[in-house]
Structures are given as C-alpha cells and as structure tokens.
C-alpha cells in the first residue's frame, strides 16, 4: 500500500476503529514512514487540542434555570389548552343536552318548570319594588357577598398557579 492509501486509514486507526487486516498494514507502514507517523502524532495532538478547546467553552450559569423556566411555561400552556378544550367540550355537551331535552317529551315538563321559575323571579322583583329604600340595602349586601366570593376564588386560583410555578 502507498502512503496515500494508508493516510486514508489513519483516521480510523487513531480512533481504534480499523479492521484487523488493515491494522497490520498500517502498523507496518508507519514503522517505516516518517510522514505517516507524523500524521498519526498530529491526529493525537488535535484530539488534545479539541479537549482543551471545549474545556474553555462554558455553559452560561443561568442555563439550567432558563431551560426549566421554559419547560414550566410549556407545561402551563399545555394545561391551559387542556382546560380550555375541556371547557369547550362541556359547553357543547350542555348545549346539546338542553336542545335534546327541549325537543324530547320531557321538554314540556322542563318548559313548565321554567315558567314556574320565571314567575317566582317576577314575584321576587315585584316584592323588592314595594320595599322602598330597603331594596338598596339588599343590593349592597348582595354585592358585598358576591365580591367576597370572587376575591376568595381569585386568591385560590393564584395560590394554585403559584404551586404550579414552584413545583
């Protein structure tokens, strides 16, 4: 084999990936050829240089935090998507259910019940209109209760989100 043929094998020789038959030929050649021996030596030098070169490449200090933050964000996005889909499915289900009930024989009963409900509401409204200023007090009390319930709900939601973020 000539130098040119041997040199094509030096890379795999240096990596220990050369076939047994070719290994003997390469060994025999480099024992007598200075140029090819030098190429093998240079290849080893290059390996060392590479190791040192990449030792000086430093991963940014905040990398781990940035990556985890992104993963958490993706996890939250997926959760929001899942909840949205579930909500939409629920809306569709309820709509289909209502329409189904209305067109079925049970619909007549439901319509009757609704009429009773509206009559009760109307009666309630009529009663409050006769209450004068007491009516305003009822509205204010109702608003306070509603605000309290909303605040409680928002705080629970925020706590749930925080738990998710610091998981």
């Amino acid at each position: 084999m000539e130098c040119k043929d041997i040199q094509e094998l030096l890379s795999e020789y240096g990596d220990g990936e050369i076939a047994e038959t070719e290994l003997q030929q390469v060994k025999a050649h480099i024992s007598v050829c200075g140029d090819c021996r030098q190429m093998v030596a240079d290849q080893q030098t290059l390996k060392g240089m590479f190791q040192e070169y990449f030792q000086s490449v430093k991963t940014p200090l905040q990398m781990e935090q940035i990556v985890l933050q992104q993963i958490r964000r993706s996890r939250q996005d997926a959760q929001v998507l899942r909840l949205t889909m579930a909500f939409l499915a629920l809306i569709v289900l309820i709509t289909v259910g209502i329409v189904g009930i209305m067109v079925s024989p049970i619909g007549a009963l439901v319509r009757g019940l609704l009429r009773v409900f509206f009559t009760v509401v109307q009666g309630g409204l009529y009663t409050t209109s006769t209450m004068g200023h007491l009516w305003y007090s009822v509205v204010v009390a109702f608003c306070i209760i509603l605000a309290g319930v909303s605040l409680f709900g928002v705080m629970r939601l925020m706590r749930a989100v925080n738990d998710e973020v610091y998981l």
Partner: protein, 181 residues
C-alpha cells in the same frame, strides 16, 4: 451509563419536574458544547440548548431504552443546530461581531485557541458536527452513524476529510508541525 442516570431518566419520563431538573443539570454541558461546536455562536447555542431540552421534555416518553439516552440527546441537539443553520441560510442576518473568544481560557494558550477557532470555522457544518461528536463526546462509529443517520462508510470518510482539512488549515497557521500548540 450510570444506574443513577437511568433512574433519573425514568423519573423524568413520568413527568417529574425535579428529575427533569437533575437531567438538565447533568446534560446541559453536553448539549451546549455540542451546539456551540456546530454553530460557533454562543447565543444560537443557548437557543438550541433550550429547544433541545424542551423537545426532551415533550418526547422522553417515546425513548424506549434509557441506555441510548446520550445518542438520542445528541441526535436532537444536532438536528436543532442544523435547523438553526438552515433558518439562518434562508433569512441571513448581519452578525454584529464574530465570536472568537470566551472569557475563560484555562491553560489553553490564547493563540492556539484562536488558531483552532479560525480553522474550525472553515470546516463545513457536517465536518464540525462529526468532529464534536467524536472528539468531545467520544461516540464510536456505530453511534455516529446512528446520531447522524448516515452509513458507517460515510462516517469514516467524513471524519478522515474533516481531520485532514483541519490539520492542513492549522499547519498553514502554525507552520511545520502541530506539536507545541
């Protein structure tokens, strides 16, 4: 692969964030250095590191054999890095400055690093990729063929040509021999 790493991978596959956190900590150097080696740009390497781990989080459940995690991870990293190169090729942007040095030099001489940096940049992306995977991570030829999705014969010839070109470029920079660099 260590038994400890395998346990962490299994836990991360079940969606446990603390296990995923350990995985990121253990493999962030592996991913970042691979991406940096291919892209030669810190900012792009950071982006690829993020994208790679996001992909790991999303696809870890598909990994059947935990032992193959390093090659699987290398494959994702290389693909993401090549995507960046492809994206840049389609939408070329003006680089503000060429990144040549890091602040940390260890014992490696500045001139030697600059020479290697310059020479390394002149290799094409495939040659840079295969050299990083072989010289930095020590993947064998079968693993390289798997990661890069090329025949083993191509692994042999690509490594040979990459080394010959790198040696030639460095000899042009440094003179007769590489020893003493």
């Amino acid at each position: 692969m260590r038994e400890e790493d395998i346990k962490v991978i299994r836990a991360a596959r079940q969606g446990k964030l603390d296990a995923l956190s350990v995985l990121v900590r253990n493999y962030q150097d592996f991913v970042y250095k691979t991406a940096y080696g291919v892209l030669q740009n810190k900012s792009d390497a950071e982006d690829v590191t993020q994208e790679t781990f996001l992909k790991v989080y999303q696809s870890l459940k598909d990994l059947r054999d935990e032992q193959t995690f390093p090659t699987w991870l290398a494959r994702i990293t290389v693909r993401k890095s090549l995507d960046v190169i492809e994206r840049k090729r389609r939408q070329p942007v003006v680089e503000l400055k060429e990144e040549q040095c890091d602040d940390t030099w260890n014992m490696f001489g500045i001139e030697a690093r600059l020479d290697l940096d310059r020479a390394f940049r002149q290799l094409d992306q495939d040659q840079r990729t295969i050299l990083v995977l072989r010289e930095l991570h020590g993947f064998d030829y079968d693993q390289l063929a798997h990661v890069l999705d090329i025949p083993i014969g191509t692994v042999r010839s690509r490594l040979h040509h990459a080394r010959v070109k790198l040696r030639r470029l460095l000899l042009n920079e440094r003179g007769e021999t590489l020893n003493g660099m």
